[in-house]
Symmetry: none
Subunit: 186 residues, 4 copies
Amino acid sequence: MKEGKRKVIIDAAASIFARDGFDRAKMEDISSQAGIGKGTIYEYFKSKRDLFQEVIKHAVDVYIELLKGIGAEGRPFEEKLADFIQLHKELLEKHRDLANLIMKEPRDVTESTRRYFQSVKKDVVDVAVNLLDSAIQKGEVRDINRRMGAQIILGVTVSLLTAGLMRDEDWDIDDAVDIILHGISK
Amino acid sequence: MKEGKRKVIIDAAASIFARDGFDRAKMEDISSQAGIGKGTIYEYFKSKRDLFQEVIKHAVDVYIELLKGIGAEGRPFEEKLADFIQLHKELLEKHRDLANLIMKEPRDVTESTRRYFQSVKKDVVDVAVNLLDSAIQKGEVRDINRRMGAQIILGVTVSLLTAGLMRDEDWDIDDAVDIILHGISK
Amino acid sequence: MKEGKRKVIIDAAASIFARDGFDRAKMEDISSQAGIGKGTIYEYFKSKRDLFQEVIKHAVDVYIELLKGIGAEGRPFEEKLADFIQLHKELLEKHRDLANLIMKEPRDVTESTRRYFQSVKKDVVDVAVNLLDSAIQKGEVRDINRRMGAQIILGVTVSLLTAGLMRDEDWDIDDAVDIILHGISK
Amino acid sequence: MKEGKRKVIIDAAASIFARDGFDRAKMEDISSQAGIGKGTIYEYFKSKRDLFQEVIKHAVDVYIELLKGIGAEGRPFEEKLADFIQLHKELLEKHRDLANLIMKEPRDVTESTRRYFQSVKKDVVDVAVNLLDSAIQKGEVRDINRRMGAQIILGVTVSLLTAGLMRDEDWDIDDAVDIILHGISK
DNA sequence: AATGAATGAGGGTTCATTCAT
DNA sequence: GATGAATGAACCCTCATTCAT
């Protein structure tokens, strides 16, 4: 029961933080969104900042968990890459604003949260690095700087998605994969 | 004189907004950074929001102006692409935080500013689209979806730069250009 | 059993009120000090204020009881006076903070508590008045205004003790008695 | 002008703190008592605590200044003693509650304020000690422990006055002086 | 035109009290 | 009876904005 309410608060907070950003989010809005009293939040979280950190941590955990599912061996790199993009697409469609919280670099939080963010970003890049590494070893991909390649994959993915290009058109994923794989040169 | 002070305020505001973000930036900090009285800002700008919009507009104008310089005809696409990346690199190095203000989607401003942002982003993509279009017509690049290609170029550029990968390593631009042009596939 | 728990709560409250003062004392601290649940206090006391009043009343009752023991007839005034001071000394040493609660005039309580305090103070002064009265009638003391004399005795006692002058030096009591009795004039 | 308003705030705060105590005093009450806006206080004082400290410091400064006036040489100890009591009497009549703030030991302030309080108390006792010392040297008073004697004088003074005994009866000062000088013994 | 003192709406946080279990 | 999770009134403090000078 207790943990249940914690979750309710985190979900409400996620939606309000995502809508309004950290500074403009009001604890009262969060509490009413959660269907509880304003003071109740403080039974579960020390402060607004603390709540924010937990929201982020939760969102990130879900995200990382999903990401890890992609690595499964034995499938061609091309498919994994499509999955990687598809995953982000779904994530962004379902939790557009929350995704922003993860992708962007917020200035309004503890140094420790900032470090956490950095480490998360690194985790995400690492997933891409692993995808690449395995593909390079199998000879599917030429031997480029893995970290840079991973960064490029992530950047293309995020920028395509946040640009809203792919919102309704599934074929775009394949095109994106094609461009990442073969470039744009004739 | 009047316009001179306006500029002073915008510069000060740019530096404070970049440092603290919109919500945490204090009008008092801006005024003292500008070396003027707190009330004076309101002689030139209606409100904090208004000031912020002007700051963004100014930064964007400079940015767009620089971007337009790249289009110059007669040079190979590869060079233009390198210039495009180089321009962003310099911009990000000089005005890292301000650049964020432009690249990110701020939730803390007027709907009208949001629209302005959208149009700016479109302008930026348009520059890339034009680069691509001209290259496609010259046969330098295969006939991909121009807007998507442009978005990919931008995504690669921004993500590489914000990742800090290139901070001190100039060769990276060529590698990035290579990957954009020829992809990562063997 | 019921009364037993009441006593436990009063003792816990006394220690917390003494440590933190009325306003800063937290009901939760009191309950955990008492080893019971927060809500349980309200089974025994209507409110924080009510609890405070009971704490005071209890402390005062103990105090008054001790005071009354001094009056015993047949002993010289000088000894009684020394006892009076000694009693306060012990009281202050054992329950320094609680003693403050009694001696001082708290502004943070009901008018009725204030009146109670007044009456307690009067009781204490009365004890001193009785000491004096009996001494005056026996000719041990000159015929001064009894109430003023009593107030003086009390004032000297409390001020000496709270000043911490006598904390470790027993002889001081005799000196104090001497000065009260014979004044400071040559 | 600026200092003028500071003084206005301190006076208002003194009256509210005196009436309600530190914890219950509301900044809003203080501001409205001062006839200014709530935020204005914070232009002059960092926080409620800071304001409180300044109030105390101010009250104490006035008090110490008045006390020092008593020491003037060449007058008999008896007169000085009467002046000492008279001074406290007037002080308590005019600023009864504020006087309490000085005399009592508040638990709700910085350690540094507590130390300041201690030092003030010492100053006050020192004045009394000096009175006594000079009297002892002139042979007006027998050679008692000066600090204890001083504490006794202060105790008698304060206890008589806070008891409200002397509120309207001027003769009491002489009686008090008499008792301090000659004791109560026949 | 320029200033900065004054303002007060707004929001995070605390904690006495309630009440369902 | 005993509990402690839930509540929301209350209060300190910040800071964008105004306006008298």
